[in-house]
C-alpha cells in the first residue's frame, strides 16, 4: 500500500519541478499581462515610439542622398584631398537638373546650409543657371564658371559628409562640436557654439532651484511631520493647493506679482522703500522664484513621507543618551532624512532640467533653458535633427540621474535603513 503510494508520487517527477511551476504560473502571468496591456500599448504609441523616433531623427541623414543620389554615389570613393573628378561634377549637374524639375532642390539646400552657411545660394544659383546638361568632359569647368564655390574642396566635403544614411553632425552640434573639411572633430565656430552654455545654464538653474526647494521645503516638511494632526492637515492643504492649480496659472500669477507695475513693486513704492520699480521678472531672479514655487511640492512630499516614518523615539533616545538637540538632529535625524532628501532633490532636478513654459514666460533671453531651444528648432526652423540631438543629450542626462536615484533607493532597501 505504502510502496504503491510512493511509486505513484514519484512518477510525475519526470517533468522537472521548475517546468511544472512555470506551467502553473503561466495563467497568472497572462492575466497580469492582460491587465497592464492597455497602458503598455498606450505608452508604446505615445511615449516610447516618439522617443525612439526622436533618437532616430538625431542621427539620420536623408535629404542629400534622396535629392542628389548620383552625386552621393560618385563621391563614395572620393579621397577628400583634391577636388573630385569629372564624373562627380557630371553627376551633380545631372542630379541638380532632375531635382530642379522635381522641385526638390530646397530640401538638399536646407540640409547643406546647416553645414556651410550660404550653401542654399550656391545650390539655387547653380540649378537656375544650368540650362542644359553640360557637354561630356566639360561639367567641371561649367559648374565652376557658374559658381566658383564648386572649385572649393570644402563645398564637396559638405556634400560628402551629408550623404548619409547616418550622421553624427547633429549630436556633435548639440555639444558645440563639428567636423572640419578633413572629417576631424573640432570645436564649432564661436558664433555657433551656444549649446554648452545653454546646458550649463540649464543645469545651473536646475541646481539652484533644487537647492532653494530643499532649503525652503525641509522645515515645512518637518513641521508637517511633527505638528498635531489638525494643524498638519491644514498646512498640507496649503502645500497641495498650488500643486492642484495649473502650472500656467501659477506662472502667470507670478507675472502679475513681480512685474514693474505689479503688486510687489507697487507695495514697496507705496511703503517708500524704493523709488524706481525693481526688476523682478524677465530675468534670472524671476525664473528662480517661479520655478521654485512650482516645484516645491515635489520636494516637500518625499521629505514629508520620509520624516513621517522617523519615530520621535529616536530623538528622545539620543537626548537620553546625552546628545544635545543640535547633535541629535545632526547625527540621528538628518541621516535618516537622507533618502527623502535624495528622492526630492532628484525629482525636482529632473523636472527642472526639462522646464520650458516657466522660463519662457518669466525669464529673459539669457535665461532660456535647453527645452526652449528644442521647441525653437522643432516649431520655428523645423531643424528636427538638431532638436532631436539636443533632446537626446537631455534624455541622457535625465537617465543618468534616474539611475543614480534608483541606486540610492535600492541601496536603502538592502541595508534595511528604512525599517524600524
Amino acid at each position: 500500500m505504502t510502496a504503491a503510494f510512493v511509486a505513484g508520487a514519484d512518477a510525475p517527477t519526470e517533468v522537472p519541478l521548475k517546468r511544472r511551476l512555470k506551467r502553473a504560473e503561466r495563467a497568472r502571468q497572462f492575466k497580469a499581462l492582460a491587465l497592464v496591456l492597455p497602458l503598455l500599448l498606450f505608452l508604446l504609441f505615445t511615449f516610447l515610439g516618439p522617443i525612439a523616433g526622436m533618437l532616430w531623427h538625431s542621427v539620420e541623414d536623408w535629404e542629400v542622398p534622396k535629392t542628389l543620389p548620383h552625386t552621393v554615389a560618385a563621391l563614395s570613393d572620393w579621397n577628400g584631398k583634391d577636388l573630385p573628378d569629372e564624373k562627380a561634377f557630371a553627376a551633380l549637374a545631372g542630379d541638380l537638373q532632375a531635382a530642379r524639375a522635381a522641385g526638390t532642390v530646397a530640401i538638399a539646400s536646407k540640409r547643406l546650409n546647416y553645414t556651410i552657411n550660404g550653401f542654399r545660394t550656391i545650390l539655387a544659383s547653380t540649378a537656375r543657371n544650368l540650362k542644359t546638361a553640360p557637354e561630356p568632359g566639360t561639367a567641371k569647368d561649367t559648374l565652376i564658371a557658374i559658381n566658383p564655390a564648386w572649385g572649393d574642396r570644402a563645398t564637396w566635403a559638405a556634400i560628402k559628409s551629408a550623404s548619409g544614411p547616418l550622421t553624427s553632425f547633429y549630436l556633435l552640434g548639440a555639444v558645440d562640436l563639428t567636423r572640419n573639411v578633413d572629417g576631424a572633430i573640432v570645436a564649432a565656430p564661436a558664433e555657433q557654439a551656444i549649446y554648452r552654455d545653454v546646458f550649463a545654464r540649464t543645469f545651473t538653474i536646475s541646481f539652484g532651484v533644487t537647492a532653494l526647494c530643499l532649503i525652503l521645503g525641509f522645515p515645512v516638511a518637518y513641521l508637517l511631520a511633527n505638528l498635531p494632526a489638525g494643524r498638519s492637515n491644514l498646512l498640507m492643504i496649503f502645500v497641495l493647493l498650488p500643486f492642484w492649480t495649473s502650472l500656467l496659472v501659477r506662472t502667470c500669477a507670478w507675472i502679475v506679482l513681480l512685474q514693474s507695475e505689479g503688486v510687489v513693486n507697487d507695495s514697496l513704492r507705496w511703503l517708500g522703500v524704493i523709488d524706481e520699480p525693481l526688476r523682478l521678472i524677465y530675468n534670472r531672479f524671476g525664473v528662480y522664484v517661479a520655478m521654485t514655487h512650482v516645484l516645491l511640492p515635489f520636494m516637500i512630499l518625499p521629505l514629508y513621507s520620509t520624516m513621517k516614518a522617523i519615530s520621535p523615539a529616536y530623538m528622545r533616545a539620543a537626548a537620553s543618551l546625552g546628545a544635545s538637540p543640535v547633535t541629535a538632529f545632526r547625527r540621528i535625524y538628518l541621516p535618516q532624512t537622507l533618502p527623502g532628501v535624495g528622492a526630492g532633490s532628484l525629482l525636482v532636478f529632473i523636472l527642472a532640467i526639462g522646464y520650458y513654459i516657466t522660463p519662457a514666460l518669466v525669464g529673459g533671453a539669457a535665461d532660456q533653458m535647453i527645452s526652449y531651444f528644442i521647441a525653437f528648432y522643432t516649431t520655428e526652423t523645423v531643424n528636427w535633427g538638431l532638436a532631436s540631438a539636443l533632446g537626446a543629450v537631455l534624455l541622457l542626462a535625465t537617465l543618468l540621474l534616474a539611475v543614480v536615484y534608483g541606486k540610492l533607493v535600492h541601496g536603502q532597501q538592502v541595508t534595511g535603513g528604512m525599517k524600524n
Binding site: A319, L321, P335, T415
Partner: protein, 375 residues
C-alpha cells in the same frame, strides 16, 4: 499610605516632592507624587494604562515637565534641566535603536557625544557587547537583528556610559512570553552585577514581582502602595492593590465592630466573618474583604469540630461551579456569599473529587482575610 515611599534624604538618589502633572489644565495625570528611590535599588512603577506611571518616568527622563513640585536627582533639582544633561540612561519600549548606525555605532553613541577618547570608546563598546553576548553582530544594523537581540543592544547602549540612573519603559512588551521571562532574569542579573539604580515601568505584574526590590502601584495618578513584592501581595493596603496584584477573592459586607485590629464583618448575603481591619472607617462602614485563593481550604462538612483546624475561624458554605486544571495546580471556582467567581487553590489531586453543583464548606484564618475599602 505613602509612608513606604519615604526614605532618608541622605540615601535617596531620586526624590519626587509634591509632583503634579496635567496635560490639558483640567485633569491631573499625576496627583501629588512623593516618591524616593534609593541608590542601587530596582524600583518598578506598575499600573494599568493611563495610571500616570509612564508620565512619571518621562518627567524623570526630562521629556515632560512637572506642572508643580520638584524632582531631585542626587540632591540636585532637575525640573528645568534638559534630558541630555541628566546623565540618565533610558531603554525604550520599541528599543529606538538608530536604524542608520551599526550595533557598534549605536552602543558607542552615548560615549562619542560625550567626547570620550577613541581607544576608550572601543574598549567600553567591546565590553558592553561582550556583556550582552553580541560581539559577533557588531557590524550589523538593527534591522537585521531579532527583537531579543535589539533589546539587549538597547540595554547595552543605556548602560555603556555608566549613568547614575537607568530608566526602562516597558522594555519587554514587544517580546514573546518565553523570551520575556529570559530577559527579565538577564536584566535582574545585570542590575545585581553592576549595582545600578533602575526605574522600570510595566503593566505586567508578574514582571514587576519577578524583578523589583520595590514596586510602586499606580492608579488614577496616585501611588496606591509602594512596597516589597511579597508585602504588596500579602499585605495590600487597599482593594485596588489587592485586585491588581495576583488573584484575589472579594466578599462585600458591613463592619460590625473592631477589636484589637480585627473586625467582624456581616456579609451582604448573610453570614459573618472575622478579618484584619486594614482599611475600614469604623463600625457600620461598608468594606470589601480580600482573601487569596491559596489561603482558603475546602473542609469536610462535619469538620466544624475538628481540632486541627481551630484557627480556621471563618467558615462559609459554598457551591462548586467548576474546576480548572492548570498543570502545577488546580483551581476550584465556587459560588460563595453571592460571588460566583470565588477561586480556591486546590492541593494536588483534589480537583477530581469536586463536581459541578456540589455543596462544600470553605474555611480561612482571620489573619488571611483583609478588610479593605469598598470597591
Amino acid at each position: 499610605m505613602m509612608d513606604g515611599g519615604m526614605v532618608g534624604t541622605a540615601q535617596a538618589l531620586v526624590r519626587f516632592v509634591g509632583v503634579q502633572k496635567t496635560y490639558d489644565g483640567e485633569h491631573l495625570v499625576v496627583k501629588n507624587l512623593d516618591l524616593d528611590i534609593r541608590k542601587g535599588e530596582f524600583v518598578t512603577l506598575l499600573g494599568p494604562s493611563g495610571s500616570g506611571k509612564t508620565t512619571t518616568l518621562m518627567m524623570l527622563a526630562g521629556f515632560e515637565v512637572p506642572t508643580q513640585g520638584e524632582i531631585y536627582l542626587a540632591d540636585r533639582p532637575i525640573k528645568n534641566m534638559p534630558p541630555h544633561k541628566r546623565d540618565i540612561g533610558m531603554v525604550f519600549q520599541n528599543y529606538a535603536l538608530f536604524p542608520h548606525l551599526t550595533i557598534e555605532e549605536n552602543v558607542a553613541f552615548p560615549l562619542t557625544v560625550r567626547g570620550t577618547a577613541k581607544a576608550e570608546v572601543q574598549e567600553r563598546v567591546r565590553n558592553a557587547l561582550r556583556m550582552i553576548k553580541l560581539e559577533n553582530l557588531a557590524h550589523r544594523r538593527p534591522g537585521q537583528l531579532s527583537g531579543g537581540q535589539q533589546q539587549r543592544v538597547a540595554l547595552a547602549r543605556a548602560l555603556v556610559f555608566n549613568p547614575q540612573l537607568v530608566l526602562m519603559d516597558e522594555p519587554l512588551g514587544a517580546l514573546d512570553k518565553r523570551l520575556r521571562e529570559h530577559m527579565q532574569l538577564e536584566i535582574k542579573q545585570l542590575h545585581e552585577q553592576m549595582g545600578i539604580t533602575v526605574v522600570y515601568v510595566t503593566h505586567d505584574q508578574g514582571e514587576a514581582l519577578t524583578m523589583s526590590d520595590r514596586i510602586a502601584v499606580f492608579n488614577d495618578g496616585i501611588v496606591q502602595q509602594i512596597d516589597k513584592p511579597d508585602a504588596l501581595y500579602e499585605q495590600p493596603v487597599n482593594s485596588f492593590v489587592a485586585n491588581f496584584i495576583g488573584e484575589n477573592n472579594v466578599l462585600s459586607g458591613t463592619v460590625e465592630n473592631i477589636e484589637q485590629g480585627f473586625c467582624r464583618v456581616a456579609l451582604t448575603s448573610g453570614g459573618s466573618v472575622v478579618a484584619q481591619a486594614v482599611n475600614v472607617e469604623g463600625p457600620g462602614a461598608a468594606t470589601a474583604l480580600s482573601v487569596r485563593p491559596e489561603r482558603i481550604v475546602i473542609v469536610p462538612d462535619d469538620a466544624s469540630t475538628g481540632g486541627a483546624s481551630t484557627d480556621l475561624a471563618n467558615r462559609l458554605p459554598a457551591t462548586v461551579q467548576d474546576t480548572i486544571y492548570l498543570g502545577d495546580h488546580a483551581l476550584a471556582v465556587l459560588k460563595v456569599a453571592g460571588n460566583g467567581e470565588f477561586m480556591v487553590k486546590l492541593p494536588p489531586g483534589a480537583h477530581a473529587g469536586l463536581g459541578h453543583g456540589q455543596a462544600v464548606t470553605i474555611a480561612f484564618r482571620p489573619e488571611d482575610c483583609r478588610a479593605l475599602d469598598p470597591v
